[in-house]
């Protein structure tokens, strides 16, 4: 959407200004940045590596030596958590991004073009929905084993976009009838450009909420995949595996569970804040950047993003 020129402020610039004016975005963005810093610089602050085992201390609470305590085999929880955070940050963000882009593109194209394009795309979406995703992954995993975490991200995204695509399709069908879309067509704007400029921005609220949910759920579904020997394997860890392993011992040895879970909650909350800000920045009627009493308005109207505020369901998923 490179419509900016020095002379005037186009949509890109206006959205960016509004985005940077929202305190939530700055807090969320800062938190994500700090998490990245912690994940990639933090391991150098301790001499323990995530593979090290300290036979002298099994299941010890946090101390000066082991900052987050130790696990059942004497692993250093601090080193493990940071190692897991490295994986989960990238997996969560990339999966959410990929699946949302795919869903938006397929859904909008199916809805906008209609006819055979619609039928074929929706047939494919339905096919993906009825396919047991894990079965497919077990079949293809031996061949992809060498491709590493990137293939893993692609697979996770590939089984996460279908329902969103269907919703985007139905939103597009109703948007297609709106006069501004018709006006663009009569002006000779090319179809893909109409989708990019008019259809997708008007679905943005939904897509953003969906993407923020996808971040949390991607981190957790990666755990499930490791049961198939795919994804993260011991001794390597991710936040997902740490939470899954720590769930049983959480009441008695809380440090094995709560540091990983807390970081995940923090991560998802930060992403939510960014998503909220982005949605408000894209929606000119939101005016969040300008009006002071944000909390009052939030209490008055239920926000669609509200349900993503708590990542508790994703933790439940792991315990289940």
């Amino acid at each position: 959407m490179s419509v900016d020129s020095p002379a005037r402020a186009g949509r890109g610039r206006l959205v960016l200004t509004r985005l940077l004016a929202a305190p939530g975005v700055l807090i969320g963005g800062g938190t994500v940045l700090l998490l990245f810093l912690l994940a990639f610089v933090g391991p150098y602050l301790t001499h323990w590596s995530y593979t090290d085992i300290d036979y002298a201390s099994l299941r010890q609470p946090p101390s000066a030596d082991h900052w987050f305590g130790t696990g059942g085999l004497g692993q250093d929880v601090y080193a493990q958590t940071l190692r897991g955070l490295q994986k989960s940050l990238i997996i969560g963000l990339l999966v959410a991004l990929l699946s949302t882009v795919l869903a938006g593109l397929v859904g909008a194209c199916a809805g906008y073009f209609g006819g055979w394009t619609d039928r074929l795309l929706i047939f494919f979406v339905d096919l993906m929905l009825v396919f047991p995703g894990f079965l497919v992954i077990t079949i293809v995993s031996p061949r992809l084993r060498s491709a590493g975490w990137l293939a893993f991200v692609v697979l996770l995204a590939a089984f996460n976009w279908m329902i969103t695509a269907r919703v985007v399709r139905s939103m597009t069908i109703s948007l297609k009838e709106r006069e501004f879309v018709r006006a663009a067509q009569f002006m000779g704007v090319r179809p893909l450009r109409v989708i990019w400029r008019h259809v997708l921005p008007n679905c943005a609220s939904y897509l953003i909420v969906d993407a923020t949910i996808a971040v949390g759920s991607a981190v957790m579904s990666e755990t499930a995949l490791s049961y198939f020997g795919f994804g993260v394997k011991a001794p390597d860890v991710s936040l997902g595996t740490l939470i899954a392993d720590g769930t049983d011992t959480a009441p008695t040895y809380p440090w094995t569970f709560y540091f990983a879970a807390g970081l995940l909650v923090l991560f998802v909350l930060a992403v939510n804040l960014i998503g909220d800000g982005l949605r408000d920045a894209l929606d000119p009627t939101a005016d969040a950047a300008r009006r002071p009493s944000r909390r009052v308005r939030d209490a008055a109207r239920p926000l669609p993003g509200r349900r993503t505020d708590s990542p508790v369901p994703t933790v439940d998923e792991a315990t289940a």
């Binding site: 419509v3 005037r8 006006a183 002006m187 704007v189 008019h198 000119p284 308005r297 008055a300």
Partner: protein
């Protein structure tokens, strides 16, 4: 002689709406005084947001819970404000009845019409089911619904808009109310149907002797129906007078401006008188007269205190300078600044032939298949949406396309703009036949034809800043950034907006400004033909006048040709050089605007013209009205012969030996006539 006590007295009525937390309450009605005598018709006129509907609803006690009503509403001396809901319910429908604007939502869709009217009877009268049903049939007969006994068993969706509004009136008069409140009863209807419904309202009023309160934004309707008129602005009555006096010599500058802003069916061209500015926001009113900011006569005292409604006799006005207005009786154009429009001369008929054709459509047809069945769809018929339309626009000319809803105006428009080969007939746009266009040529042609839609809110992407909206057609044609950046401020200035509005979003603008943005977008690529699809029908009259003036000015400056689609004949008369009238997908009459409006030849055009109410009570009373019976037939059947025959007054009066021609032969317009008419027996 004692004057009888008024039937309904509204005194110092105030309505406040509680807002969401953290915001000020909105006062929608700020001290309204009204009196209504037995059997009289009171018209309440005002633009959107003036509080006229809220006043009507407050009288009935039908406002939502967030509203607080102060003041007094007395019916025959009985106070209504503050009564318990039970007692009010006994009065509603029995003594005061309401006719709503949208008859589709005023009926419950799952119950039969007859049951709903019978229910209204049985709520207030102790009669049995059969008697109530008989009464319902009588009422439907009173409002002129054919075959009332059968109509009782119809569902609301089976009725047309006009029939629903009649049934609504039948329900309102079911209990012989003393007061009938009609809130914009004809706004959603076509003019010929509006004429029918107004006639029904008059009949209902005559039969029941009820007093009528008619709330409308249409000065013509009020001039035609009312005995007295109250003009509302910003939640107050600013002028109240007997109808003749009000239209002849308004004492308030706002009324004067409104009268000047309405295009007239009986007058040609010239600039309209726009009222500058916007109506004030009711939650942030400045002290003093709320109209002062827009008033050309405002003096410093106007901003000090709000003037009271006062005046000689029955003619009251809330203006400090009403005395001067009453004495001098100025014309609207003498009070309001009127933009000087560059002269536009429509070419003489002889010279017209030599001008290049911008759009030429002949014999256009478009049908839509009707499918049945869910699993195996099969075609069971066709809707003839457009069936024989001809249009001819020369360079720099404005063609007005007139027709009621369902006449196929929009379909014809979209067929032309689709740049596809037509189903039948021929479309030639700027010298190129659309049947023979390559995709690339079609794309280039799009730059030369642009469209302005009816609803400026719907046709502007809410998520795009105005600058990007206007840039869109330029980008579509591949203009470079420098040119786009230079063009946007230029376009905004051209349509009367500020260049720095480019960074705002559409929702920050008012309706009239949004329509200006729409026009700026259409002008961006310097088109030769501008298609205007009802461009002013969503706007208030005072705003509409400004947009119409802008269109006239642009046409003169840029030499544009307009295809102006409208259901409002006054607007067409004001703006167009030629007019084309459509009925049921066909062109029934076309010709130069002066000729068609002065001497319409097709019976449908004649009826249409006579149905348009004039904002002039004296002229209105002296007119002969041609009322068309019934509704336009469904376009699914392609009738043999003239499609207008079932409603045609000429056909009805024909001697038997001349009728078969209308029944067998569909009349077609003579090909190259200046003033062509599709009728076998046209008026001379």
């Amino acid at each position: 002689m004692t004057t009888p006590a008024p039937l309904l007295t509204v005194h110092d009525l105030r309505v406040e709406f509680a807002a969401a937390r953290g915001r000020a309450t909105t006062t929608a009605v700020r001290g309204v005084d009204l009196t209504l005598n037995r059997g009289e018709t009171l018209g309440i006129v005002g633009e959107s947001g003036s509080g006229k509907s809220v006043t009507a609803l407050a009288v009935l006690g039908l406002l939502p819970g967030t509203a607080t009503v102060h003041g007094s509403v007395a019916l025959d001396g009985q106070e209504l404000v503050g009564r318990p809901a039970r007692e009010l319910a006994a009065i509603r429908g029995r003594r005061i009845a309401m006719v709503f604007q949208d008859p589709l939502s005023a009926f419950t869709p799952v119950f039969r019409i007859g049951d709903q009217i019978a229910e209204a009877v049985r709520v207030h009268q102790r009669v049995d089911r059969a008697a109530a049903r008989r009464r319902a049939a009588e009422l439907l007969d009173l409002v002129g619904i054919p075959d009332p006994v059968r109509a009782l068993d119809s569902f609301p969706h089976e009725f047309s808009g006009g029939m629903r509004q009649r049934a609504m009136i039948a329900m309102a008069v079911a209990n012989d109310p003393d007061v009938l409140l009609a809130d914009e009863p004809t706004t959603a209807l076509d003019v010929t149907i509006q004429a029918q419904v107004l006639e029904v309202l008059r009949t209902a009023q005559r039969e029941t002797g009820a007093a009528l309160v008619l709330v409308s934004h249409d000065l013509g309707v009020v001039a035609q129906m009312a005995d007295r008129v109250a003009v509302m602005y910003a939640g107050r009555v600013v002028e109240s007078a007997p109808v003749d006096e009000l239209f002849a010599a308004p004492h308030h500058p706002y009324t004067l401006g409104l009268i000047g802003a309405v295009p007239r069916l009986d007058r040609t061209g010239g600039p309209l008188v726009p009222i500058p500015g916007q109506p004030p926001a009711l939650h942030a009113l400045a002290p003093g007269c709320p109209f002062a900011a827009r008033c050309p006569l405002a003096v410093p005292e106007c901003r000090a205190a709000e003037p009271v409604l006062t005046g000689p006799g029955e003619h009251l006005a809330a203006c400090l300078r009403s005395g001067e207005l009453a004495a001098e009786r100025p014309a609207p154009a003498e009070v309001y600044p009127v933009p000087a429009l560059p002269p536009t001369r429509s070419p003489a008929p002889a010279a017209r032939e030599t001008l290049p054709r911008v759009l030429s459509v002949d014999g256009l047809r478009r049908t839509f298949p009707v499918h049945k069945g869910t699993v195996f769809k099969r075609k069971v018929g066709e809707v003839y949406a457009v069936d024989g339309v001809r249009l001819d626009i020369r360079r720099g000319e404005t063609l007005g396309l007139v027709g009621e809803s369902g006449s196929g105006k929009s379909t014809a428009l979209f067929e032309v703009l689709g740049l596809r080969p037509p189903e039948a007939g021929r479309i030639e746009l700027l010298g190129q036949d659309t049947a023979a266009l390559s995709a690339e040529a079609a794309h280039r042609l799009r730059a030369r034809v642009q469209i302005v839609f009816q609803d400026p809110m719907a046709s502007l992407d809410p998520r795009l800043p105005v600058g990007d909206i206007i840039a869109e057609p330029l980008q579509a044609q591949g203009a470079d950034r420098g040119r786009i950046a230079a063009r946007i401020p230029q376009l905004l200035t051209q349509v009367g907006l500020e260049p720095d509005h480019a960074a705002r979003y559409p929702h920050e603008f008012s309706g009239g400004q949004r329509q200006r943005i729409s026009i700026a977008r259409a002008l961006a690529v310097e088109p030769e033909l501008l298609v205007l699809d009802e461009p002013v029908s969503a706007l208030d009259v005072s705003i509409q006048a400004g947009v119409l003036n802008l269109l006239q000015q642009l046409k003169a400056e840029l030499g544009l040709a307009y295809l102006f689609v409208s259901h409002d004949l006054s607007v067409i008369r004001h703006l167009a050089d030629r007019v084309s009238v459509m009925y049921l997908g066909r062109t029934v009459e076309d010709g130069p605007v002066e000729q068609v409006f002065a001497a319409p030849r097709h019976p449908y055009t004649r009826a249409l013209l006579s149905a348009v109410p004039l904002p002039d009570p004296v002229a209105e009373r002296n007119r002969v009205r041609i009322l068309l019976p019934g509704d336009p037939p469904s376009p699914t059947s392609r009738a043999l012969g003239c499609p207008f025959r079932p409603r045609c007054p000429v056909y009805a009066a024909l001697p038997a030996e001349q009728r078969p021609r209308c029944e067998r032969e569909a009349p077609g317009p003579a090909a190259d006539d200046v003033h062509a008419v599709a009728c076998h027996y046209p008026a001379a």
